[in-house]
Amino acid sequence: MRRPVYLDYAATTPIDPRVAQTMLACLMPDGTHGNPASTAHETGRAARDVVEKARAEVAALIGAVAGDIVWTSGATESDNLAILGAARQARSGHVVTGRTEHKAVLDTCRQLEREGFAVTWLMPDRHGLHGPEQLRDALRADTRLVSIMHVNNETGVIQDIAAMADICRERGILFHTDAAQSAGKLPLDVDALGVDLMSLSAHKVYGPKGAGALYVRRAARRRLEPLMFGGGQELGLRAGTLATHQIAGMGTAFALAREELAAEHERVLELRERLWSGIEPLGAVYLNGHPERRVASILNISFAAVEGESLLLSLRGLAVSTGSACNTEVAEPSYVLRALGRDDVLAESSIRFSLGRFTTADDIDFATACVRAGVEKLRALAPEGRAPDKSLKIR
């Protein structure tokens, strides 16, 4: 077994070897190294062909027309292009989003506030879900855009995008969804979902980091201002030399995701259940997110009476994420779990296990053993013993 056992697929996935193969075909000395914009010569045209093939592959996974896919450097850029692009084009007005969105959406909406736009931040229920009625109530006459993620990256909760997009379509309001965490995990169809804009990322689907796309429904094209200018690539919506190998890799990754989606779902779901049934008997463990409306790959658990940082150190045989910010010395509890009503202590002692294509039953059994040993040891060390602290009540 490779150590640490990687259970952080929601943060990023390893590249599938078949994806690496496609990328290699561009990177090697005889590879497709041309600039896709240099259509004056064969070397450039070969690169353009590679890019267009990938565009069709990405479009196919989400039921879109290839011409509606705009390449970006990742879902962060896609989110920014969708949100800043739609709002700035409208010049002023109101935007609706949720409190448990990814930072790429939250921080972007905060920037809109600084630019004078009004933003409504929807509060989810204790499972992390938004109700369509809640959205309807939030809409205003000058609402330009609603941005609600499809699957949450911390809890795996699945929003009812179709119902919410429906409400917006009636009123001609643009609907954006960040599908970075649902692509390859749920069947996706932009028409069935009724969205105008959808953010995608390659590196959550066994493709390369630094590659993404924004689906832009044809009718919405003119309603977006670009983030970057120069060169007129990508329908004028995104300037910059196209990274052939990256795009080729994303294409293969999405083609593979499409082929393997159903089978992988079953396999991963079973592994996740195996993990949960190994951990639950510890007692005083709480599932974060909705018990059913979740993708198969994510299990987010709060461990009562265990300090978060020590828990993580105990689990250093595993690569997992915690409910704390990663980039400062002082831990900050997850804003997503806080929005679900977890107190700071439980938010900080949460672990997100995220499984994927290369996760095996052995990995899961090893992880179960680590968790049991770690939690039992820390609880034994703690003053309150095994009993969960009474103050640690779930809302």
């Binding site: 910010a325 010395e329 831990a331 900080e348 060390l381």
Partner: protein
């Protein structure tokens, strides 16, 4: 969660904490100091058995980060065998240095120190051996 790494001493102490648990024996000889809270991110308990010669047993329990656990363990190790008066001048900074505790974590060490202060206060209020009847 942590942008910093742990010193070898912290890792060793976290992995194999010495003096974990509760001091046992004649309740008249036992004193307990507690400090912190779960909310504050650290809750530390020190329990000492104090005989006329000094601290004959020191144990800790802790809910907290690895630095907290390591520091509590070190404190317990160091005070066992010492005369009770030695607790007064206890140098928590030396432990912080030895464990290479980052600046952002010094607050947690103060919680460990506070548990020790709690023991001292308890001892002053009720020197062990004065209430054997209460058993």
């Amino acid at each position: 969660m942590f942008g910093f790494s742990y010193s070898r001493a912290v890792l060793e102490s976290f992995e194999h904490p010495l003096h974990a648990g509760r001091a046992r024996g004649d309740p008249a000889e036992l004193i307990v100091g507690r400090a912190g809270s779960m909310k504050a991110g650290a809750l530390v308990e020190l329990s000492l058995r104090v005989a006329p010669g000094g601290v004959t047993e020191a144990r800790f329990r802790a809910f907290g980060c690895p630095h907290t656990i390591a520091a509590a363990s070190r404190v317990a190790q160091q005070i066992e065998g010492q005369p009770i008066e030695a607790l007064e001048g206890f140098d928590i900074q030396a432990i912080a240095d030895e464990l290479e505790v980052p600046a952002g974590k010094l607050g947690r060490l103060l919680i460990v120190a506070d548990a020790l202060v709690g023991c001292l206060a308890e001892w002053r209020r009720r020197p062990p051996g004065t209430d054997t009847k209460q058993r």
